[in-house]
C-alpha cells in the first residue's frame, strides 16, 4: 500500500496534529513514513501544508509530485482548492466547510462551496459543528481526520492507536474525547459513500 496525502489549512489550525496522529498510527504498524512540514514565517496566519506519505515500501521523496496525491485533507475550504494541481485523477478531497477568513479579499462562501461541489470525489463537512456536538469544540481537526479515515489505508482502530500514542500523556479523558471526535468524522464520511 501507498497513500500520499496533502494536509492543508491556515497556520495555527492544527494540521500538524493530524499529521502526527497518522504518523503515530503508521509507525505503530511498521509502515514507512515521510512527512514534510512548514515551519517559520508562514505559520503566522498564512496558508500552510504538510506532505504526508505512508507506504509499506521505502519512500524516496519528501515531497509529493503534482498529479499524484491520493487525498487532499483540508481543514479550510479555500485551502482545499489551492492544492488541486497535486491531486491525482480519482483522488479524494476531504474538507471542512467552515471558512477561516483573515484576508480582505476572501471570496464569498457560496462561490467556494459551488467549486467544491463540482469536484467529482469529495467529502465536505462542517467539522466545527460536529466537534461541538461531540462536546469538544477544539477537536474539529480530529473530526477531519475521522472523515479521511476510510481513504488512508489505515483502519479506524489503528488511528485510535495513533490518538492513544499521541494524547496518552494528557490523560484518559483527552484520549476519549478525541476518539469520539474521530468516530463522528468517520461516521459522517461513511454516510456519504
Amino acid at each position: 500500500m501507498k497513500t500520499d496525502i496533502i494536509l492543508a489549512g491556515v497556520g495555527g489550525q492544527g494540521i500538524l496534529t493530524i499529521a502526527a496522529t497518522i504518523g503515530m498510527a503508521a509507525v505503530n504498524k511498521n509502515l514507512y513514513l515521510k512527512q514534510a512540514e512548514v515551519h517559520g514565517m508562514s505559520q503566522r496566519g498564512g496558508d500552510v501544508q504538510s506532505n504526508l506519505r505512508i507506504s509499506d515500501k521505502p519512500i524516496y521523496s519528501d515531497l509529493i509530485a503534482k498529479g499524484s496525491a491520493d487525498i487532499i485533507l483540508s481543514v479550510e475550504p479555500m485551502e482545499a482548492l489551492r492544492y488541486l494541481p497535486y491531486l491525482r485523477k480519482g483522488g479524494y478531497v476531504i474538507t471542512n466547510i467552515v471558512p477561516f477568513n483573515n484576508i480582505p479579499d476572501y471570496p464569498d462562501t457560496e462561490t467556494i462551496m459551488n467549486r467544491i461541489n463540482e469536484l467529482p470525489d469529495k467529502i465536505a463537512l462542517d467539522a466545527d459543528q460536529i466537534a461541538k456536538d461531540t462536546g469538544n469544540a477544539r477537536a474539529s481537526n480530529i473530526v477531519m481526520l475521522g472523515a479521511a479515515a476510510p481513504f488512508l489505508g489505515l483502519s479506524i482502530e489503528e488511528l485510535e492507536g495513533g490518538i492513544k500514542s499521541l494524547f496518552g500523556r494528557k490523560g484518559e479523558e483527552v484520549v476519549e474525547m478525541n476518539i469520539k471526535a474521530l468516530h463522528a468524522g468517520y461516521d459522517f464520511a461513511k454516510s456519504k459513500m
Partner: protein
Amino acid sequence: MQKLLLLGDEAIAQGAIDGGISGFYAYPGTPSTEIMEFVQHSKEAKEKGIPCVWSANEKTAMESAIGMSYAGKRAMAQMKHVGLNVAADAFVNASITGVNGGLIVVAADDPSMHSSQNEQDSRFYGDFALIPVLEPSNQQEAYEMAYNGFEISEKYNVPVLLRVTTRLAHSRAGVETSDKKTQREMSLPKDPRQFVLLPAIARRNYKRLLEMQASIKQASNESKYNKYIDGADKKTGIVACGIAYNYLMENFDGNCPHPVVKISQYPIPENHLRKLRSECESILVLEDGYPLVEKELRGFFNEGITINGRLNGVLPRDGELNPNIVAKALNLPFGEGEAIPEIVKNRPPSLCMGCGHRDVYNAMNEALIPYGDGRVFSDIGCYTLGALPPFNAINSCVDMGASITMAIGAADAGLVPAVAVIGDSTFTHSGMTGLLDAVIKNSPIVVIISDNSTTGMTGGQASAAKGRIVNICKGLGVDPDHIRVLNPLRKNHAENMAIIQEELAYNGLSVVIPQRECIQTAIKTKKAALKS
C-alpha cells in the same frame, strides 16, 4: 537499534548526542531551530549535562563551539544559511586553527526562500574554508553524519560542515540509532599555539590545511555516502546531490535506468565523476541550491561533454527542486491535477491578532504623518510583516541589525528624522554595536526596540535581551531622558503616539522601547500556569 520518528533537524541532534557531543551552540533561525529545541527537550542531554542555551548570535555560538573544541571536547554550532554569514569570520578561521575535539557546523539552507531573505548555498562556504562538507540525502544519513562527523573532524584536524536544506530539516521519517559513544575528557591541544593565528603561525597552519586537502579529497572518493550506481542507458549520466537523489529515485520508483553518481560528501568525488564522464554522452546535474557541482564539472571553457543543469536552463536557476522539476529535466511524463481555481486568493502571513507590534506600528505611522513616507528602516523578525498591508510601515529588511545602522547612514545623507524598528532578540544579536555607533555620532534617529521578550518568528525561543534592554541602552551611553519605555496597548494609543512624536522632534538619538510579551508565548505561559 532503536527506531525513532524524527525531523531531519532532530536526527542531527540525536546523532550528535549519540556521537559523544559535549556542547550545542546556536541562534534560532528557520530551518535550523529544531536542532537546539530537540536538545533542550531531551532528557538524555539534560542528564548528561550537555550545554544547550541559545547564544546571542551565530558568531558567538560558533566561537563558543571553537572554544569547546580547543578544550578537547566535541561541539556543534547550528545556524541557518544567512547565520553562517554572521559567523563567517570565526568559521573560516576555524579551518586554519584546526580542531582539538571534533567540531561540526550545521548550516540549514532555505532554497525557495520559504522563510529567508536569500537562498545562498552553504556548500560554497565549505569549499571556501577548504573543509569537508556533508550533505545528507535523508533523515537516516543526517543522523549518521552527525554521529560520525566528529571523527572526520578529528581525523583531518578541521571543522566539518553539515549542510541540509529546508525539506530535509523539516521532514519526518523513521531513523535507526546507533550505540552511544562516551564524551571526551577535557584535554588541551598538544601544540599550545595551535589556536594562535599570528601571521607566522597562521601561515604554518594554512600550509598544513593545504597539505591535508589530498586526504580530504580521498575521503570523498572512499566515502560510503558517495556512490556510483551503474545503469544501462548511458546517453545521460546523472549526478544527484543531497536530497536531489530522492527526487530522482522517486521518478524511477527506485530503479534509475541511467548511471548515477550520488554525492553526499564534498569535495566532489573525482573517481566516480571521471567514470561517469568517460561512460556517458551527457551529464545532468541535480543539486538543491546553487550550481556548485555543475560549475566544477563545466570547467573553464565548457568544452567536450554536454552538461545539463541550472546553468543552461535545463533546470530552473533558482528555487528548490521537487519531483516534477526533475521529471521535466529527464523528459519523463508527469501528470498534473486541475489548475488552482481563480477564486483561490493568496493568504500571506500576518501579525497575530493582539500582537504588540500592531499597536507599535499604528502609533508610529500616525506620528510619522507630518514627515512623509520612506524613512523607516527595519529588521528581521515578526515585525518585518509590518511591510505588508494594512500597515505598509517599513521600508527595509536587509540583515540582522541593519535597521539602526541604515538609519544612521540615511540620516547622514539628510533623511531626518530616520527611524529604526528592531525586535529585542535582533537587538542583542546585532543591534547593540550599531546603537553604539549612533551614540558616538549622536545621530538624529529614533530607534524603536519593539520588545516582545522572545524570539517570536522562529516560535518563541528565549531572548537574550529579556529584562536587559533599558540597561543596555544606558550602558551604551544613550541619554536616559531619551530612553522612553511604553506599553503598546490600544488604550494607550494616544499617549504612545505623543511619545514617538516628541522623540521624532528631538534632534539627536532616541530609543523608544514598547514592551509587551508576545501574544503566542503569553498564551502558552497562561496555559502552563493553569495546568500546574
